[in-house]
Symmetry: C2
Subunit: 192 residues, 2 copies
């Protein structure tokens, strides 16, 4: 199928859920984001696209910092709760009993049972179309080391679009890297 | 656990694999990327972070366009092949028999058996740390409608870090959106 334009498009989903946390003058807010990416190793930078309509923006303009918490699949309700309500109407942390601690390096809320949480200092923001891309420098990383097996995450919460959540199938894990590719190339060029 | 800095960090993985395709003067190249995100609905914008060391950059500077192909889990070798070799050394499409067609709107290679492929016109690029963030306007979308069930992807290829690939667990799919949240709120505030 080919289309020139779609109002909404989710063909690249599922995508990890990132809970954006902001804090300013003891006001805390969380929102769910599926539009985010790592951008650089050195310095460590991470970007997240947020609609200017979001309450999170108002706090972010002042706090100039945010946290990104990634969740376990079993905590999908946290994402639905903070993704489908607005900080204009509710204090989400209290209403939904979201446990957080304050960041170690920044004034940001770090969700307690997250798989990992990046503390990010805003170094740039730029409007692209109907969203603002915030770029943050990661100045602290919290993670639950029991959740990872040799660096591989065990059951991350992914957003599948249309209010649906999904996770990974552990026994589908497969390795195919430099060694495997080089072996195939050696066999291919053998005798040439 | 808390760390201030990590040379590399993959705590937010697994992430969908995007194969970046570029074409210039009949020279074609593909690379694998795990750093990418949607940025805007209107206009539809998508960003991908690419190291300036990559051969892809050289072509992109000229072509000012790229494609992003998302793959089925079973095609993980395509990602390993193009991710672990360089266009400086090989013509990857020929070496690895990667079947593609030319884009309908742009001069970009569209991988034939991809789940979906976005044709992107570069509208901005910006260096952040050790990568360049390319922002592309999606001017065409190819997708395999048999791969989606009510808009939900059935087994996308995800990159788990360290040359490992994984996919989703179909029976873990769960819905938790506006309706479910509102029902919980109604019950909570009942009688107040």
């Amino acid at each position: 199928m080919f289309i020139e334009k779609a109002d909404k498009y989710y063909y690249h989903y599922p995508f990890p859920v990132a809970i954006v946390g902001v804090m300013h003058n003891n006001k805390v807010n969380f929102m769910a984001a599926a539009w985010h990416t790592q951008i650089s190793f050195s310095p460590p930078l991470y970007g997240v696209a947020i609609s200017p309509k979001r309450f999170t923006n108002k706090l972010m303009e002042r706090s100039k910092a945010f946290s990104l918490s990634f969740l376990k699949y079993e905590d999908y309700k946290i994402s639905g709760f903070v993704g489908r309500t607005s900080g204009k109407d509710f204090e989400k942390d209290k209403l939904f009993d979201i446990n957080y601690i304050e960041g170690r390096k920044l004034n940001v809320p770090v969700i307690k049972n997250a798989v990992c949480c990046y503390e990010c200092k805003v170094i740039d923001h730029r409007t692209y179309g109907d969203h603002i891309l915030y770029v943050g420098e990661i100045v602290g990383i919290h993670y639950d080391d029991e959740f990872f097996d040799k660096g591989i995450s065990k059951g991350l919460l992914l957003y599948a679009g249309n209010d649906m959540y999904i996770t990974t199938k552990e026994d589908s894990i497969v390795k195919f890297g430099k060694e495997e590719v080089e072996e195939i190339l050696r066999a291919k060029f053998k005798g040439q």
